[in-house]
Structures are given as structure tokens and as C-alpha cells.
Amino acid sequence: SLTDKLDGIFRKLKGRGSLDEENIQSALKEIRMALLEADVNFRVVRDFIEDIRKRAVGQEVFDSITPGQQVVKIVHDRLTELMGGVSSRLKFGSRFPAPIMLVGLQGCGKTTTAVKLARLVAAQGKRVYLVSADVYRPAAMEQLKVLGGKIGAGIFAAAGLQDPIEICVQAVEEARRNGYEVIVVDTAGRLAIDAQMMDELKRIKAQINPSEILFVADAMTGQDAVNVAGRFDEQLGIDGVIMTKMDGDARGGAALSLKAVIGKPIKFVGVGEKIEALEVFHPERMASRILG
């Protein structure tokens, strides 16, 4: 484990009263390696390591724990602090129905998460409506219909409509007419560099004025996470993140990268394919997972 590696480093150096530049140096190398192995972005790691160096140097070495444990604690606490501190609650605002829009790359879990979120919101006592704006992926609307049917949510029937913007506008109207309080909008997966598809999201946003735009990110995403999320945030504006497939063994370093680059909180994590498999994000658990 990381603590064992760091203990090994500190054991080689003669016992000193405090953590100094020299004994911190090798420790920081190990920590940097662990973070990069965990898929934390290169530059985010660089800045983070520098931050830890400043915090660790000059700290007294405590008797009750090893210097290795002490450094890991500094790192763990800082990771927790960076990724946490913000409420995981959804903003519904004063809109009626409150539109929650899910966006992200292809295959990250938006459609499944849309229904998970709808179930969560329904459990809070609100009437939830679902709509798929995905006219591209074969059977995407059928997928949302089948999943949504399991929780008895209202689902917009797009019938012959082919324009995603029109579908969203009509769905919001239908939701309003029928007294739904929240509408969860599932959008098609798209590349952040696809200008036309990003423009489509901007137009949907302009028409339905979402109370939340949530970026859905796969826990196994690598270094590219910052490029993608950065572009989505610049062009569209992201209010929060949902990290999916956290039931796997990916270390999930993208969680730190996302928070560092776009500054928006991870609100929920997907932990399985079942509709119940959505949990609130716990930064301290994520910190331990990233450190391995």
C-alpha cells in the first residue's frame, strides 16, 4: 500500500524530528506515482504535489503514527477537502417543472442515470417526468421507456418528432400541463469537440432553462477527463457531476481532475446497473480509493 511504501522511504532516512525537504522528496515521488496510476490528470497532480509539499514540510513528526502514515493523512485530508465541502443536493429552483439535464460522452451511463435520478427525486415526494432527446442512437428512446417504466415515471412520447430541441420543449410543456414538478432530460452521448452537437445542447438549454445541468462521467475515464469536462463547462456550463460505474475497480482519479478543473461538485455516484444503484458522493471514500 502507499503507506507501506512511504514507511519504507522514511525508514531509510535517519529519524528526524520533523518532515523536511529531503525526506519529503522521495515520499512525494511515490504519491505522484500513485495519483497518476489512479488516472488523476498530469497537471492536477503537479499542482497537488506542490501543495502537499508546502503543507508537509516543517510538520512535526508525531510519536503515535509513522511518518509514512502522517504524510498519507496529509494527502488524504487534502484530497477529501478538495473534492468535498459542497452539498450533494439537487437545485430545483423556482421553475415548474424543474428541468434536470444530463450530458456527457457516449456510453458513460446517462440514460441509466436519468432513471436512477428520477427514482431518487420521486422518493423525495416529487412527481417526475422523463424525456429522451436522443434521436440518434438506435433504440435509445426505447431504452429510457423500458427503464422508466420500472419506476412508473411519466415518459414523454416523442412519436414522430425528430428535432431534439422540439422534443425537449414539448416534453416540458407536457410535464407542466400534467403537474409534474421535475423533468429529467436524457441527451445523446456526444464528443465535446463536436461543435454541432455541442450547439444542440446550447439550444436545448436556451429553450428549457435547466435548473441543473449534470455532467455524467465514467469512473474509469483517464487523462482526457479534464479536456472533455472543461469544454462542456466552457460551452454549456455544468452545475455538477455524476460519476458512474463506481462499482468497478477503477481508482477514479478523474474525480479529482474534474473538481480541480471545473470546480463543480460530484453530487452522486452510480454503483451498478440497477435503478436503485445511485448513492450520494463521499469525498473521503473517494480519496481513499484514489490513493489505492
Binding site: A139, K145, D218, T221, D224
Partner: protein, 278 residues
Amino acid sequence: ILGSKEIDRALFEELEEALIVADVGPAFTGELIESLKEKVRRKELGSPEILRKVLRETMREILLKNEAPLKIPPDQIYTIMVVGVNGTGKTTTIGKLAHQLKGEGHEVMLVAADTFRAAAVEQLEAWAKRAEVPLIRQAPNADPAAVVYDALRSAKAGRPGVVIIDTAGRLHTKVNLMEELKKMRRIMGRELPGAPHEVLLVLDATTGQNAVVQARMFRDEIGVTGLILTKLDGTAKGGVVVRIARELNIPLRYIGVGEQVDDLRPFRAGEFVEALFA
């Protein structure tokens, strides 16, 4: 990337960053950089240009060892099982592959063995229509192995050709789901000796170091004979495939470069390395 004027620390840092942000992985990047430094110490590299060239060449050679297009022998039933974690692009890739193989003159049949996920069969059905190939399917929630069994019976009764089996996405950490794939393999082997002739693992290029874990687990648990890397039309470089080539020796078959039926290309080591450094 900014060019350094001489072989100095800045050059090595620049190359280290380029490799790591391409998802080549920090440990393997360290090895590549260290071997370049060793060559510099032995005066084998005269300039930054030569150094960059040697790095590209080293990576290309690692990949070239594993570059191996799919060779389907004629006049037999050739079965391809497509596996991988959730959302990597298996179903879409099967549609593309069916279209490509049909264009190459093969008889192709698709098998909807993802009986679990909502609308998975409908999705594959749409692709079968697009590629103009037949599809074998059963009722929702049927036993996937039973669908495969039926498909093989049906294939054996017909003309030789390629049978491509779509399986449900599954995390390699889910023991019972990996067992389900093993069972599918056994049933295939019993029904048709030699089956599955190809087990294609579909990996998403946006995945980080976990891709190596996925590849290792799928290979160890059910055997993998080929790899397809999808979503290379995005900004992710898929550098993990260099590690996979080096550490696991799995043949690199195709890359996915989009969502349309002809967005499938053979894996080419040279092109891949060029794109990585672009």
C-alpha cells in the same frame, strides 16, 4: 507540443507529459524515458529530433508486434464473441463489423446474447437491419447461453459464415457475470469444436489505466484473442494500448472512429503512434 532546442531536462519533461496525458501510464512512461536517457548517455542520440523519432519508433515497434488484422478462413462457421465492460461500444462495433465483413464477401449472422439490458436486442436489431444481415434473438431475459446455443444450431444447419455474438456489458470485477461468459464459452465449444474462434475485447479509448486491468482480467478469465479500441475520434489517445501490447500480447484488430456504420478501421501501429503525438 513545444519543441526543445537541445536534449535537456525540459525535453524529457515535455515527452513525459505527452506520454502520460496520452494514457500510456506513469510506470511505463518512466521506462520509455529512462531508456531514452540511457541512449543519450551512450551518445546514441544526437539531437531532439532523433530522440523524438526513436521514441515514436520504439512505441511503433511494440504495437507492430501485436498488429494483426482478423483473418477469417472461408468455408467454415467462424464464431466471434464480443465482450467488454459496460458502454465501451460492443453493440455498435458489431454493427460496423457485420457491414465490413459482408462487404468482404462473408455470410454474417448476428446473435443477440445481451438479454439483460433494456432495449439491447432492439439496438442490435437496428444494426442488423443497417448491415443487412440476419439476427438470432429470443425473448427478453432468456439465458444468454441458450440464445448462443440456438444460434449455433441454426448456423450449423445453414451455410458457412461468420457468427458474431453480442454480450451484455459487464465489469470484470463481477465474478458471477464473468462465470456467465465462461459458461457461454463452454457451451459454444461443446456445440461447435473450436468455438469461439475469436473473442474480441472492446475497450473505450477514453479509459485510463483500468483498461489494462480489464484486458488482463478478461484474458485470464475467458481468453481474449483480439482487441478493438473505440471512440478514437474523440480527444482521448488510448495510450493504454501500448501497455496492453507490451504486457499482455493481445492482437490489435480494429479501431472505432465514430458512430456510423463504416467508422471501423484496421489497427495500424504507425498511424496510431502519429495520432498519439499529434
